[in-house]
């Protein structure tokens, strides 16, 4: 059995987002890049499954669509414990584009379980995983909060209102994973970092693919307004402000 984990290379979640002067793009200078947190948890679960499978899961592969600049993130995934990596050499444009690229690159590969984080922490599109299953003509389970392997059967918990349902999908399938899939991401060991250098990272040229999204302009959220202090005794002023300025009474 083989597991593939799709990984998005995203800005560190503590990054202060700045826009370019013409607001046509996010200014990515000096940004620290990380493995998308959802994908990192997916990878953690994949490694846990491999370790407890008694050799049944032969490898965990990580995959991304990204330029050369995404390689440190892929090396980190290898340092954490993935066996090998595939990078489709293209700048990701939108979910539709990315899903096509992955589907194309996997045409001649076989993976039993394909894991995608529910969304990437930069654009939060929540679309790629299901689009990928469509392009690959595979079953997909979304809102996955746990995966267990029981003999030859894979059991998947799918979150539903008020609880979860257990699904036994046919292999191969795509799982779109979310909260609960793993407790916390792993920290690579020094040995893992050293070994990552020697693990294979295959670069695949992109296919012809179109994007369906056009980014027109970015707007930063409005800055929080300053807090206006009203003297405790001055109820009249408070009422006046709530009425005329905040317009809530």
């Amino acid at each position: 059995m083989k597991i593939l984990v799709c990984i998005s290379n995203v800005p560190d979640t503590t990054t202060k987002i700045k826009l370019t002067a013409d607001q046509s793009a996010v200014d990515l200078a000096n940004v620290q890049w990380i493995i998308n947190p959802w994908d990192e948890l997916a990878l953690t679960r994949a490694l846990e499954l491999k370790e407890t499978s008694g050799g049944k899961i032969e490898k965990v592969t990580v995959m991304t669509v990204g330029t050369q600049s995404a390689e440190p993130t892929m090396r980190k995934a290898l340092a954490i414990g993935a066996d090998d990596a595939i990078r489709v050499n293209a700048e990701p444009q939108d979910a539709y584009f990315t899903a096509q690229q992955i589907a194309h690159a996997l045409k001649d590969e076989h993976y039993d379980i394909i894991l995608c984080g529910i969304e990437s922490s930069d654009y939060n599109g929540s679309a790629m995983g299901n689009m990928l299953s469509e392009f690959m003509e595979l079953p997909a389970v979304s809102s996955v909060s746990n995966i267990e392997i029981d003999g030859d059967q894979v059991k998947v918990n799918r979150e539903i209102p008020g609880g979860y349902e257990v699904v036994e999908p046919e292999l191969p399938f795509v799982a779109v994973v979310q909260k609960g899939i793993a407790k916390e991401p792993r920290i690579p060991s020094m040995r893992g970092i050293m070994m990552a250098r020697r693990k294979p990272l295959k670069v695949v040229e992109p296919a012809e693919a179109e994007a369906l999204t056009e980014f027109v302009r970015y707007e930063p959220p409005k800055p929080k307004a300053a807090c206006k202090m009203v003297d405790a005794d001055n109820v009249e002023e408070l009422v006046e402000l709530l009425h005329n300025e905040a317009k809530i009474i």
Binding site: E71, K76, A79, I187, M190, I193, M194
Partner: protein
């Protein structure tokens, strides 16, 4: 010249920073307050592969270079001096003499367990009356049959008394020559050897969650196989170990300065006085500018010194300079960081208070600032 860190060095920095923030920061204050050594954190640092990280794989190490090790110490010290001290003292001073001077048999016997985080090793040089003057060593050893018999005591030995400390290298006087000079020899003394007593030291101002010990030798017998290096080579072994140790103390200074700077920067942007963040006052902005500049100087000088060592070039003078400079930068930056925090900087609730105490050792341990100046001036031919 290339001043860019490799992808691996960057990953090591991110990894250790992540570890320090996730595992150490939440407990550092409490461990400091209780003066408690954490077996758990030590084991976790071991799992991460930080102990013996510069040793070849055959001895259980990771085969990493000096710079990788120094970055790891820097990142630990950015969050907590005590944990950084446990690691730095073990790697530089504990493992160092065994790795550089041990026989193959000794290395295979001791080093693998010392790379796990489940066993520590001490460096027995300092004595109550032999600090800066390490040649004032009074501990003696004399041969008796197939053994050596050690008598004397050591003080301020990091990682010397905690349960998982499995031994120490100990400098002794084995002879006084006719010209009055002493012959120094270093021995390996294992925990549990009859006559070897370890006493944990308390009441420290800094590094309170690290282990500091007094070692006592009372007719302590070690077999002749426990001789480290050659008879008469003791002082060279111990002093050359300190050259390496200086790099990790420098890294602790750099990390402490970085940690204090980040806290001060954040606080200055949050704290408002006279209607605006105090970072908007030039007096504070200039302080922060100076702090940032000093840290950059310290970092790149230290990294270059690591480069000298990794490229097998002489680095003893630079190691003394880096230790001196980084520890004084730590002092200056921690001092100003407390100043920026005002009254809150004096409170234990604020991490900057701990950094301010922890950095004070760095101008004293592993050669005082005065001794570093002496070493540097000797390299200048003075």
């Amino acid at each position: 010249m290339n001043f860019e860190l490799t992808e691996e060095h960057q990953m090591i920095r991110e990894t250790v920073r992540d570890f320090a923030e996730r595992e150490i920061r939440p407990v550092a204050k409490e461990l400091d307050e209780k003066a408690e050594f954490s077996l758990e954190l030590t084991a976790k640092m071991g799992e991460l592969g930080l102990f013996g990280m510069y040793l070849p794989e055959k001895y259980g190490g990771q085969g990493l270079d000096t710079l990788a090790y120094i970055i790891a110490v820097e990142e630990l010290a950015r969050v907590d001096g005590s944990q950084a001290a446990t690691l730095a003292a073990h790697n530089s001073l504990g493992i160092g003499p065994l790795y550089y001077y041990g026989t193959e048999e000794q290395k295979m016997k001791y080093l693998p367990q010392l790379c796990t985080g489940k066993a520590l090793w001490g460096f027995g040089l300092t004595e109550p009356n032999a600090g800066s003057d390490s040649r004032g060593t009074k501990t003696t050893a004399y041969p008796d049959g197939d053994d050596w018999v050690i008598n004397g005591s050591k003080i301020f030995i990091t990682n010397g008394s905690v349960d998982i400390s499995v031994g120490s290298c100990v400098q002794t006087v084995t002879k006084t020559l006719d010209n009055g000079k002493k012959e120094f020899t270093t021995f390996i003394v294992e925990k549990g050897t009859p006559g070897f007593k370890r006493v944990s030291m308390h009441g420290k101002m800094m590094w309170r969650a690290s282990d500091t010990a007094e070692l006592y030798f009372d007719d302590c017998r070690v077999p002749k196989e426990n001789l480290l290096g050659e008879i008469g080579q003791g002082s060279k072994i111990m002093l050359s170990t300190l050259d390496n140790g200086r790099l990790s103390i420098a890294a602790m200074g750099l990390g402490a300065a970085q940690g204090a700077f980040e806290l001060a920067l954040q606080y200055s942007q949050e704290r408002k006085q006279f209607g605006k963040p105090i970072s908007k006052f030039q007096v504070n902005a200039f302080k922060l500018a100076d702090m940032a500049m000093k840290i950059e100087h310290a970092r790149w000088f230290l990294y270059r010194t690591c480069w000298l060592k990794d490229n097998h070039k002489p680095f003893a003078k630079e190691a003394a300079m880096a230790k001196l400079y980084c520890s004084e930068v730590a002092r200056d930056v921690a001092n100003e960081a407390v100043q920026i925090h005002g009254g809150y900087g004096l409170m234990k609730d604020y991490d900057v208070e701990r950094i301010f105490r922890d950095q004070r050792l760095l101008q004293i341990g592993e050669g005082t600032s005065e001794i570093q100046r002496l070493v540097i001036s000797r390299h200048l031919g003075l």
